[in-house]
Amino acid sequence: MCGGLVRADITMTRLNLTFPDPVGIDYNPVNANLVLSVNWPSGLPNNFYTLTANGVFEQFSTASGWPGEIQISVAQVAGNGFSAGDMFSTGNTAGHIAYLPASGVGWALWELHDFDINYTEPGTVDGGVYASKPNDGWGGEAIVTTSVGNVWRVHSPGSAHLIATVPNVWLEGVVTVPNDSRYGPWARCIVAGTENTEACKLYSVSTAGVVTSWQVLDDVTGWAIQAEDLRLSRPTKTFTRSTTGGEAFTTPTRISSPGWSATSSWHKRARR
């Protein structure tokens, strides 16, 4: 990665499927479905749906009425006591994240309270959530960013730890970066974007809780990138096809793959 290999642009193809105000999306490796949080901003009548490979879109979980932007993250591998397919989500209740088992049956709300410092998350947890990997330095714990700039790692119910705070920044999408030198100073860090569009910064958080801000510039336009969500690409069969310049995305737009998927909503203009 170091050295900035430039790949060909990708082509995305829209599916002839639309979804009710989607926000969050992730892949469930257990049943090979996509999970979506939908019906922004009310969460009514249901918060979560699955999309199967054959295009069937149906309810997942009875969660209902969780307001706001519901970000989700599905554990891709088992670890830290979690099963692959277990899902974390933001929303529902201030200062809490939700844990939904892979079956979609029931859920639990976990309070973000650090007993070591007796601190409870005061913000809304509609920033970001990420199920880290057991081998990426974060032990497969849930990483959570909040509207007041707090970054948490959540091991289990009643075991949440405040890692760092980025004052006055509404943190958004979050990812953990593997401990690999090709990622430079981001190796083994949490990297988060921000909802503060004017900031156009990303923030890395080391395991020691050191926060560093970064401005990443478009290598063509020179404009700063506003990071809403971040992910590490993962090996998939669909990436093995080769085109000039290396692997190619053969990626439909909006929802769905192969390769990766993005949720987009064109009903949120009012808040702009």
Binding site: V23, Y27, W186, W214, D218, L230, A262
Partner: protein
């Protein structure tokens, strides 16, 4: 590729910032750069998308060929029946395949005992995924362009005490096959439930009523004569009064009146005769006006007064004719009443904002020319009630309940309590859910009697007449409010004086005289209740006794809780 950090830029259509996907790479030192690998184009509807989250997924999503439609129950799938449009129970009807064109989907309501009945126990309101209200749907749903998902909200209708209370009922909606789509066999039907609410009771009943008059009890025959006919939900009353000192001169003035404020005289001139009969919640009054012309009068005009008292006369059914009367108005400005046509025959008339339009009659062929009919009420939905003869020569009337502009003899004739066409009925009051009250003949243990009745609007409920005064010699119900409380008049025996009654929605029957707190403003009877609003206020016509004469007084009964 594997292990690249990808960043989605949300995009801000309003500020021109496009949604982009970047591959972020480490450029050495403390430098990271991003290479844009995708810029979002237009989304459905031509609106640029904004991005929230993305993921990697080793699957290829293939929409099914053609269009498949499925239905599932929402969450929660249960609703209390008193939640009305606040109900969260719903169905989700979704389609796969091309979401761009419109798609018409049909459904049915298979029995699923205990089965809730559409229109009777609930109805469905549709909203698409873009929060566009699609209105009430019955058996057909049209997906708008780009909508892959439509919510059908279950709007329960509270059981009415007058019709019987039902327990938890099932709402099952099934998709009906159509060449335009395939029904998903796993989601071909779904069920929600409507749970009986514990509040299904009569609610608090007044312990008594305080009696107020719209004119003083003192007077002298016509002087201070008054009658009250309508009351809206801010407790404004309409009716008419004869201002003193007109002891022998009859000059009715329409008015608005209140139990706790001075009335407003709506009469446009001292020589006019005006009557107020109906009033709606914005205080618009309908009635009748008899303007002077030369030394006489120009006949009667149905009319209405705006909230700021501007009088508008409707055209007469027949030029110069008398007894053109508007008696009821609803929120949509449907105005009904009666007037005489060119043959001198009374006709049920609808005015609204237009010239008088005859609603016809219950006679075969909707005979307009020679068959008498009267309209007495209209509810929020536009259902009109009244009475009509069933032929020009019929000796009795039948109650009718109709919708629109023409009485349909085949469907609008409510028949009679005995079932015999030669007996009589008349519909005098209707509420927001179509419960209708009036009077009709019943066969009783004492013989055939003309009694007050209640009747539901909807099939499947108590479509039969319910006798509200079964042990009385005579009775008639004049009004029903939206809670189902009914007022009217009755005679205990053939020699009894006419008395006013209230029948609460739990079936309790009470003589208003016994509930009215003495000294009852000097009245000697409360014999003709005419209207009841949703606050339980009752208006009508009673009498005082002055100098050997019984003189009418419009009364207002104010509940004391």
């Amino acid at each position: 590729m594997v292990g690249d950090i990808l960043v989605a830029q949300e995009g801000a259509p309003m500020s021109g910032l496009p949604a982009k996907l970047y591959r972020v790479y480490y450029a050495g030192g403390n430098t990271f750069k991003g290479h844009c690998i995708y810029t979002a184009s237009e989304g459905p509807g031509g609106t640029p998308p904004t991005w929230e989250q993305f993921c990697f997924a080793p699957i290829v999503v293939t929409p099914p060929a053609g269009t498949t439609v499925g239905i599932v129950a929402g969450s929660p799938s249960n609703t209390l029946e008193d939640q009305g449009e606040g109900s969260e129970a719903c169905f989700i009807v979704s389609r796969t395949g091309d979401a761009e064109p419109t798609l018409t989907v049909h459904f049915s309501y298979p029995p699923n005992p205990p089965t809730a009945l559409y229109g009777c126990d609930y109805y469905l309101l549709a909203t698409d995924q873009f929060d566009n209200a699609l209105g009430q749907v019955t058996d057909t749903l049209v997906f708008p362009n780009y909508a892959s998902w439509v919510k059908l909200q279950v709007v329960p209708v509270d059981d009415r005490q007058n019709e019987g209370i039902e327990g938890t009922e099932n709402v099952t909606v099934a998709l009906v096959a159509d060449p335009a789509y395939t029904v998903d066999p796993r989601h071909s039907q779904a069920t929600c439930t409507i749970q009986d609410d514990a509040a299904d009771n009569a609610g608090p009943k007044p312990v008594s009523y305080n009696v107020y008059l719209i004119t003083p009890a003192s007077g002298g025959y016509y002087s201070n004569w008054s009658e009250a006919y309508g009351i809206c939900n801010d407790n404004t009353v309409t009716g008419f009064f004869n201002p003193p000192p007109n002891y022998s001169q009859w000059t009715p003035h329409a008015c608005r009146a209140w139990y706790n404020a001075a009335k407003v005289d709506l009469n446009p001139g001292s020589s006019w005769w005006t009557w107020g009969y109906g009033i709606r919640d914005d205080r618009v009054v309908v009635g009748s006006a008899r303007p002077p012309i030369g030394g006489g009068y120009a006949g009667d005009y149905a009319c209405w007064w705006s909230a700021d008292n501007v009088l508008t006369l409707y055209s007469q059914v027949k030029s110069g004719s008398y007894y053109n009367e508007a008696v009821a108005i609803n929120d949509s400005f449907v105005v009904v009443g009666s007037g005489k046509n060119e043959n001198g025959v009374y006709q049920a008339i609808r005015w609204d904002f237009a010239p008088p339009y005859s609603l016809g009659s219950l006679a075969s062929g909707n005979n307009y020319y020679t068959t008498v009919s009267y309209a007495y009420g209209v509810n929020t939905d536009g259902h009109i009630i009244g009475k009509s003869k069933t032929s020009p020569s019929a000796s009795t009337y039948h109650a009718f309940r109709m919708y629109g502009w023409r009485i349909e003899p085949a469907t609008d004739d409510l028949g009679t309590g005995t079932g015999a066409d030669t007996d009589a009925s008349e519909a005098l009051g209707i509420n927001c859910v179509g419960e209708t009250v009036g009077a009709t003949h019943f066969n009783t243990a004492s013989g055939k009697r003309y009694h007050a009745f209640h009747r539901s609007l909807y099939p499947g409920k108590s479509v039969a007449f319910i006798d509200l005064t079964p042990d009385k010699y005579w009775g008639g119900a004049t009004a029903i409010n939206n809670h189902g409380h009914i007022v009217g008049a009755y005679m205990q025996t053939s020699s009894s004086a006419q008395a006013g009654f209230i029948r609460y929605n739990d079936g309790t029957f009470a003589d208003l005289w016994n509930l009215a707190a003495p000294p009852r403003a000097g009245l000697v009877d409360l014999g003709s209740p005419e209207a009841i609003n949703d606050n339980g206020f009752i208006v009508g016509v009673g009498h005082v006794y002055n100098d050997g004469n019984y003189e009418a007084r419009g009364f207002i009964l104010v509940p004391a809780w």
